[in-house]
């Protein structure tokens, strides 16, 4: 729900933090207003990044107004709205969430299946609207999800193969942020590498559970038949090197873009936030928030 393309909060200036939050709230509001009321749970950090990048490339700025928070109506918050970039991100959030939920429904466990079904139903009207706006993206993500199922059925130890579908999905989304040929080439690769990063961070985070519930995970074969917690932890730690390699390539691609706006926030995310995500993999939620290690 939250995402891996995050900022490093301690390193954001207060001004940048406010901008970030205005976009976050703007996404939530746009999801509520333009799609369905319940689709605001789909807002995530990855799509805040997509919005900021889009604005930056278009040399666009957000206009911020104060509105009541949908979750806490007692509060008025700064909200960025009415912006093509935000609306595009919102549509993408709905479409990708819809397919992810459909995928979750193939989970064995009843509770998970039921929850995914309920959520999918709640956002279905919004999904249909988003699909009408961007039919090519919807079709592409649909195809990639099918490809992914095929890959998982045949099992693989290749992180590259396992992440390919997610990577292709995000690649297509990012490519839509520009009409200029060279910029499209860069965005296509950037989207691919970010999609790959997200998928593999997820694989690292979910490894323990995937083993427990016998679900596909490309890292599975690095471990013994009945691995102890320590063995799993060790494998995840070693895997983090691959994730850092991924970030290096993301940075080298990002450097080629003409960033006109929100430079500091985007730099923060790429050069600090992504590494923070890597460090947080395998940590308990409480450890992440308080920074204290739990034994």
């Amino acid at each position: 729900m939250f995402g891996y393309i995050i900022p490093s909060k301690p390193d954001l200036t207060i001004r940048d933090f406010n901008t970030y939050r205005a976009v976050y709230c703007g996404l939530c509001k746009t999801l509520s207003n333009k799609f369905t009321a319940s689709s605001r749970i789909l807002v995530g950090y990855d799509f805040v990044f997509l919005t900021l990048l889009s604005l930056s490339l278009k040399d666009g700025e957000i206009t911020v107004s104060r509105e009541r928070c949908n979750t806490n109506p007692l509060k008025k918050v700064p909200v960025a709205k009415g912006n093509e970039s935000i609306e595009f991100s919102a549509a993408m959030a709905v479409i990708t969430a819809y397919y992810k939920l459909a995928d979750d429904m193939s989970d064995e466990r009843f509770i998970k299946k039921a929850a995914s079904f309920a959520t999918k139903l709640a956002i279905s009207r919004g999904y249909k609207r988003a699909k009408r706006l961007y039919p090519e993206i919807d079709k592409l993500i649909n195809t990639e999800m099918e490809n992914q199922s095929g890959i998982e059925r045949n099992s693989t130890s290749s992180t590259d193969l396992a992440s390919q579908s997610s990577a292709n999905g995000l690649s297509a989304i990012f490519e839509m942020l520009s009409e200029e040929e060279n910029t499209k080439r860069i965005l296509k690769r950037l989207g691919y590498l970010l999609g790959r990063f997200i998928y593999l961070c997820d694989a690292g985070d979910d490894l323990s559970d995937d083993i427990k519930y016998n679900r596909f995970n490309p890292l599975r074969n690095r471990l013994s038949q009945n691995p102890a917690e320590d063995e799993i932890k060790q494998a995840v730690e070693e895997f983090k090197g691959s994730l850092r390699l991924n970030v290096g390539e993301i940075a080298s691609t990002y450097n080629l873009l003409e960033i006109k706006n929100y430079r500091e926030i985007l730099d923060n995310i790429i050069f600090l936030g992504l590494y923070t995500s890597i460090d947080n993999i395998g940590k308990l939620k409480t450890e992440i928030v308080t920074g204290e290690k739990t034994e």
Partner: protein
């Protein structure tokens, strides 16, 4: 349409000569051809490098100072380092990769007999994987190419670059090196932007205080 050379070098027009030179050096390092050898976007990096060189020359000419002593070498395209192999046409394959025909390159490489698969073959396989975004596979092939021919600078540059990234060195990092210390020092993740801080401010305001003044 002339772009502002000061903007290209990311400095203000009243920057000192030292600042101009420092900025030039920093940006040059970022777009160095070495960092993009075998990268499908190498031509775009070369263009950025050229823009930076031009901007620097213009500023220095305006300030009537001698142009930089060592003119940067012309962009080393992927092709410049190619060698001719008798068993298969390595140059042709490099051309395919250069022009984005990675599928074709991969098919051609896979059709080459196992006994002909030398260091160059491994390097080209790595480059194809790298172009596709298959980073782990790319690293494996670059590693093999380097061990088969340790003296080859092109192979070791590609491999060492990936090893560097693996350790947390991102190119053009405006924050300096990767520092594990600062990250594990109790910093919060992005997660609590919404939950933690907002809730805290919320509660605070309900009680009559104000944690974040502007909200």
């Amino acid at each position: 349409m002339m772009t502002d050379p000061y903007r290209v070098l990311e400095i203000s027009p009243d920057a000192s000569d030292e600042e101009v030179k420092a900025s030039y050096r920093r940006l040059s390092e970022k777009y160095d051809a070495e960092n993009y050898s075998g990268n499908p976007l190498a031509d775009l990096a070369a263009k950025k490098q050229k823009d930076i060189n031009d901007a620097y020359d213009r500023i220095m000419a305006e300030r009537s100072i001698q142009a930089r002593q060592n003119p940067r070498a012309a962009q080393n395209t992927y092709n410049d380092r190619s060698q001719v192999f008798s068993n298969y046409d390595s140059v042709a394959i490099r051309n395919m990769i250069n022009s984005g025909r990675t599928g074709e390159a991969e098919e051609t490489l896979k059709a080459i007999k196992p006994s002909f698969r030398d260091a160059e073959w491994n390097f080209l396989m790595g480059s194809v994987a790298h172009a596709k975004g298959w980073l782990d596979e790319a690293e494996r092939y670059f590693s093999i190419a380097t061990s088969m021919q340790p003296s080859n600078k092109e192979y070791s540059a590609a491999y060492n670059r990936m090893k560097g990234y693996r350790q947390g060195n991102a190119p053009g990092n405006p924050y300096g090196g990767y520092d594990t210390q600062r990250r594990s020092g109790g910093g919060c993740s992005g997660c609590d932007i919404c939950t933690g801080l907002l809730c805290a401010d919320c509660c605070c305001e309900c009680m009559g205080g104000d944690l974040i003044r502007c909200c």
